[in-house]
Symmetry: C3
Subunit: 162 residues, 3 copies
């Protein structure tokens, strides 16, 4: 049996539009029979951070960073024209209007379709996040570092850095 | 005859510097004998939106988004140091000074060299744009979705996400 | 003897987090036995610009651009939550705390591990920088254009655009 072609997506950005693009491609790739991995790093960790509950992080710096950068799929904003939330709100209306899934729906869909969601351990530290599975949503399969990402990318037909 | 190597570029950003980078690479790839496709999505749609005339979009949300995000190749700005247009103006002067083509010239050049310009249908909706060829410049060959992009990327020697 | 697999990274961004991601991947790739090239363009040129001394650029436009965009590895900022330097300072504290190398240390490390650092000639002009090796740190091996980058990318197992 032929092995599946791989698609590996690194998501560094936590902007709403880049998160949407990443999930559209991941879900489309999976539906085309590709084996898809998404690797979340830096602001991208915001996308897969738990929405509910607060994260217990040690030290003043981490507490500060978690206060100004709360994260979670429902707090993602557009990189432009956010205008105190108005631009992001307009786009979310248009998403509903054109039947585009929300980020929460995309995460559930991707998970069901076998897309592997991986949190970058190396950058949890500088983002003030405890590098444990509890920090992230239940759909997140594992935590791994840059070597794991490059290992996947080397075997991939398509690698995207978003 | 050997098949041409493919270069596929996804352009999500509408920032002047990223648009320039995308076209430099597309035009260089074509001049090296590669078969080049550019796939514009989200803010990248601004680059290939018609400059003249207004777009007839239905509904208040779409009208609002088109008002705040007019788009068109001549309205692209730098992502940093725009400073109410000053930074962008300075860079445009330096572009002239160093004989770098403008975005309009790059689009014409790319089109003449056989670079395929494709607008993403899936994101037209959330950007408040009617997903028809009339929305875009005449150089834009077609509209297509994420599956088309991934299909091209799978066959490509180089895929870039800009 | 088998040839080494190549990793080619284009760095367009001058944001601290993207610079860090690029160097983490470059250094990890080199440690995995890959042959790594980093190609700096547009704001990415800021990362490898000399920290000390001023750059002698001719013409008012270039002088202006160099004044507002001083560059250098120690002036890189976060793309978000910079908050007049506070956010960037917090992240730099967390980098120390988690033993993550600074950009200066990453550049030295990458250079020692044989990672090739290349400055993009084509964009030096529009960034107001003289396209000579003197503009950049001593670790920068050479200057080259878009054709060189695509040539490397065509031979690479993994190409990333950051």
């Amino acid at each position: 049996m032929a092995e599946k072609e791989k698609l590996t997506i690194a998501v560094l950005s936590g902007d709403l539009e880049r998160a949407l693009a990443a999930f559209m491609l991941a879900v489309t790739g999976a539906s085309m029979g590709m084996e898809v991995s998404m690797f979340f790093t830096f602001w991208g960790l915001n996308i897969i951070k738990r929405n509910e509950g607060s994260i217990k992080s040690k030290g003043l710096m981490r507490k500060m960073l978690n206060l100004i950068n709360r994260g979670g799929s429902r707090r993602l904003k557009l990189s432009k024209f956010n205008m105190f939330g108005l631009g992001t709100w307009v786009m979310k209306q248009l998403m509903k209007d054109t039947n585009m899934p929300s980020i929460d729906e995309f995460i559930a869909m991707a998970h069901q379709m076998g897309v592997k969601l991986i949190a970058c351990t190396t950058t949890c530290g500088v983002m003030g996040l405890p590098p444990v599975t509890d920090t992230f949503r239940s759909e997140v399969e594992s935590l791994a570092g840059a070597a794991y990402f490059l290992g996947e990318a080397r075997q991939s037909k398509v690698t995207l850095f978003i």
